[in-house]
């Protein structure tokens, strides 16, 4: 066999030359259309019902018009809940889309694994200014001093207030509260099947105290320290108002609770303006900023990012698409209208169209959202954050509910550190 091959070298050489020529022609064929694959999910990013996905198709059409030799493709019908798994599957098989939506929880893992392209260079080349974005939204895409994604949509945390209930108790609705005022109001309204607050987690309170449970690099937990203890103590104090009774969000729906933390997307879903079905039609309600103890409030902000794959073959093109979707004000304006979060672009949130969209008469004007976005804060992401936070939450709740408010901080610190 070997001798035969040695004798007839042509038999080996010609197929190789032929194959090389074919692949060369294929690779450098000028008529071939570049395909840009997108990774998106259907529906809202914020676990609320959503009605509109057509805007993406319009963006794609506009993009293909601007770049005639590019074809943008995406797989439709992937649910938000399946998206992380879907993306992981694609990445594991090396078939990841060129540009894809990255949920905040997955961002650190993907950035850490090198799945995402650092786009700082493209930002500079294309003269994109980071100050056009809200700082917190922009910073969500920053990992280890590199930029791995542009903010597509943000979702700030707000405090919903049952205005009717407060009026009934003779309390004037303030535009902002500190935690002590908040506690006082809660205490005042808690009587006869009425409650102060529903669904307020210890993390919400931690945000108000400026708590950072982990170091920025995610190497260490900060549990056995003063702010953490203050947070948990306040949480216990607040809970004790209800004497171990857990107030549910349904009770807020029924109008028996004064406060409930809510995201902007939830607010936009349930607020009966301009034409959505009203969920809370029995009482008047509105949103204010979360109560805080800080001079510079740190509202928790959730942001969905659009990232460029590190394996993308035409990164210029990929970034051009990202730029169009995340940085083009008219498209962001459309996106804001058809989706439920806030736009990470400052100019969009401050536009006349947005003012109209959110209504001028309501308490939550677009300018209010703008100020919430201005004060919001992007908590640093790291690879094992989701697991560590889950474990921390579990341990805290276990201590409070099963162990009679006896929180062993040192033990929890140790346990959580193991996750990191």
């Amino acid at each position: 066999m070997i001798r035969l091959l040695r004798k007839h070298k042509d038999l080996v050489a010609w197929p190789i030359v032929f194959a090389l020529m074919i692949s060369f022609i294929y690779a450098y064929n000028p008529g071939r259309k570049t395909v840009l694959k997108l990774g998106v999910y259907a529906g809202s990013s914020w676990d609320v019902p959503s009605n509109d996905t057509k805007v993406l198709d319009r963006v794609i059409k506009k993009f293909e018009k601007a770049y005639p030799n590019v074809k943008v493709e995406y797989e439709s019908g992937i649910q938000k809940s399946e998206y992380s798994q879907y993306l992981a599957e694609k990445i594991v098989q090396g078939k990841q889309p060129d540009v894809f939506v990255v949920p905040q929880d997955d961002f650190a893992l993907l950035a850490d694994n090198g799945a995402l392209q650092d786009i700082s260079g493209y930002m500079e080349n294309q003269r994109l200014s980071k100050t056009d974005f809200y700082e917190a939204a922009y910073n969500t895409g920053v990992y280890h001093n590199a930029l791995y994604g542009l903010p597509l949509e943000s979702n700030p945390m707000m405090m919903c207030v049952n205005i009717d209930l407060l009026k009934k108790e003779g309390i004037q609705l303030p535009t902002s509260l500190d935690l002590n005022q908040f506690y006082d109001i809660c205490k005042k309204v808690t009587h006869d099947g009425q409650y102060g607050v529903a669904g307020m987690s210890w993390q919400n309170i931690g945000d108000s105290f400026g708590l950072k449970s982990f170091t920025d690099d995610g190497k260490e937990a900060h549990i056995n320290d003063e702010t953490f203890k203050k947070t948990i103590n306040f949480y216990i104090k607040l809970r004790n108002l209800n004497k171990d009774y857990v107030v549910s969000s349904e009770q807020f729906d029924e109008g028996k609770v004064a406060f409930m933390p809510m995201t902007l997307a939830q607010y936009r879903t349930y607020k009966p303006y301009p034409y959505r079905v009203a969920k809370y039609s029995t009482f008047n309600w509105d949103c204010i900023t979360m109560p805080t103890m800080l001079e510079n409030p740190q509202t928790r902000l959730n942001t969905v990012l659009l990232s460029l794959s590190s394996r993308c073959t035409n990164k210029q093109m990929g970034f051009a698409f990202m730029k169009m979707l995340c940085y083009d004000t008219s498209i962001q304006q459309e996106w804001l209208k058809s989706n439920l979060g806030a736009s990470p672009l400052q100019s969009v949130m401050n536009s006349k169209k947005s003012e109209k969209l959110f209504g001028e008469t309501e308490a939550l004007k677009s300018s209010t959202i703008d100020s919430i976005m201005q004060t919001s804060y992007a908590y640093p992401l790291f690879k094992k954050k989701a697991q560590a936070e889950m474990k921390l939450d579990y341990l805290i709740n276990q201590a409070i509910y099963n162990n009679n408010n006896n929180v062993d901080y040192a033990y929890i610190q140790q346990e959580v550190d193991q996750e990191l």
Binding site: L5, R6, Q85, V92, G94
Partner: protein
């Protein structure tokens, strides 16, 4: 290039290459199948969480592996041809092999780096010179070190095959790991066997060379003995010839003379005239005897001197020596205007001849310089060679004879053995020899 004929060595080489192909293919397929399994079981996200870096497309990895293995195979087939038919240096070929190997290992995410042993093997097999081998050993060793997953994964992120395997069900996990480690171990074992066979082969080769050297040395001694013997025979023959000559010429003449003189003793009183005639005859016989002796001596002269002048004879002898050996002989001759008698010429000729022979035979010289100076009162001959020389000179038969010969001319010989071997001969001048005087 020296090549071992050991069939075992080449068999084990081929087997190691084959085994590495299997191992590379196995690792490639392992990536493919594990990925498929993980995707089918919806464990992709968990895999991502456990990997430190996202993996390549396993299908690309597979095709790239196949392509690189194909390149490697083609390279192995044409390597020997390239070595024999073109002037391609083995260093270049080994470098190409090293590059392909590194590409294969990197493509496999460093999950199998036993392939580098193939390069090690080829370095040992093809480059015999230790000095030329060294840089390749160093480079290969560094590559081996830096492609070791457990070492390098601390410095850079690599999607580890172990993480993939850990997702397999228990039984498969064990089998997959076992076969992978098995291949690695067998590869190492074969490499060690290769080394041992190589070592044994080189020891055998060295032993063969030593044996051959010993044989050559023995042949050399035999030849020396033979030379000595033939010299002895030649000497004997010469003696017999001289004896015969003396017997034939001088013997006859002297017998005749002695008989004639005896007759003369008787005749001188009886017939003085007859005696006178007899004496005439004797005189003739003596003259004839002298003539015979002269002719005999003529026969005993060195051949060269018989036909040529002294200088020509020297040059001819030098030429003959040059042709017979690698000896480079230079003659500086100041004796153009000197007319020596035959005996002197013969003796000096013999001394020079003996010196050159000694330089060649005992000194193993490559160069001999013969200087023949003419000074007002004496002739000086200095013969210098660049051979081993002798620390402590104990004159043997040859040197003693040289001294005796010189003494016959009233001269003397001095030997120096410190820096090569030097023979210094001085012979006093006799009146009339130098034409210029």
């Amino acid at each position: 290039m020296l090549k071992f004929d050991s069939k075992q060595l080449s068999q084990i080489r081929h087997f190691i290459i084959f085994l590495n192909f299997i191992a590379v293919l196995y690792s490639t397929l392992l990536y493919m199948f594990c990925t498929q399994y993980i995707v089918n079981k919806n464990l992709s996200y968990e895999l991502m969480e456990n990997l430190t870096v996202i993996p390549k497309n396993p299908l690309h990895l597979f095709f790239y592996s196949i392509f690189l293995l194909f390149c490697f195979l083609v390279f192995i087939f044409i390597r020997d041809d390239l070595l024999e038919k073109t002037n391609m240096s083995i260093e270049l070929l080994i470098s190409i092999e090293l590059i392909i190997t590194v590409l294969i290992i990197c493509n496999l995410n460093l999950c199998y780096n036993g392939m580098i042993l193939v390069v090690f093997m080829d370095i040992i097999y093809y480059i015999r010179d230790l000095k030329r081998r060294m840089p390749f050993f160093v480079v290969s060793f560094l590559i081996w070190l830096f492609t070791d997953y457990s070492l390098i994964s601390r410095l850079i992120d690599i999607p580890s095959i172990e993480v993939y395997i850990s997702f397999l069900p228990n039984g498969y996990r064990f089998a997959a790991s076992f076969f992978k480690n098995f291949l690695t171990s067998v590869n190492l074992l074969l490499f060690i066997i290769f080394l041992v066979i190589y070592l044994v082969d080189s020891l055998i080769a060295q032993k063969n060379i030593e044996d051959e050297l010993a044989m050559v040395s023995k042949v050399n001694t035999d030849l020396n003995n033979y030379i000595n013997l033939s010299e002895k025979i030649a000497e004997d023959r010469e003696r017999k010839r001289i004896a015969r000559e003396i017997h034939d010429t001088l013997g006859h003449a002297l017998t005749g003379v002695s008989a004639g003189i005896d007759a003369c003793i008787v005749l001188i009183d009886i017939d003085p005239a007859k005696c006178k005639a007899q004496l005439q005859v004797i005189s003739q016989v003596v003259r004839q005897g002298i003539g015979d002796v002269r002719r005999s001596l003529q026969k005993l002269r060195p051949g060269a001197l018989e036909q040529h002048s002294f200088k020509e004879a020297l040059n001819q002898m030098i030429q003959e020596y040059k042709e017979l050996s690698n000896l480079d002989i230079e003659l500086y001759y100041e004796w153009e205007h000197i007319d020596l008698d035959q005996t002197k010429e013969d003796i000096i000729f013999r001394i020079i001849q003996e010196s050159i022979t000694n330089a060649l035979r005992h000194g193993h010289a490559t160069r001999v310089e013969i200087n023949m100076f003419n000074y007002p009162n004496a002739y000086y001959i200095i013969i210098q060679d660049d051979g081993k020389g002798v620390k402590d000179i104990k004159p043997g038969y040859g040197l003693k004879q040289m001294q005796e010969r010189a003494a016959m001319l009233g001269g003397h010989v001095v030997f120096h053995g410190d820096n090569g071997f030097r023979i210094f001969v001085s012979i006093p001048k006799r009146k009339g020899e130098d034409i210029d005087d």
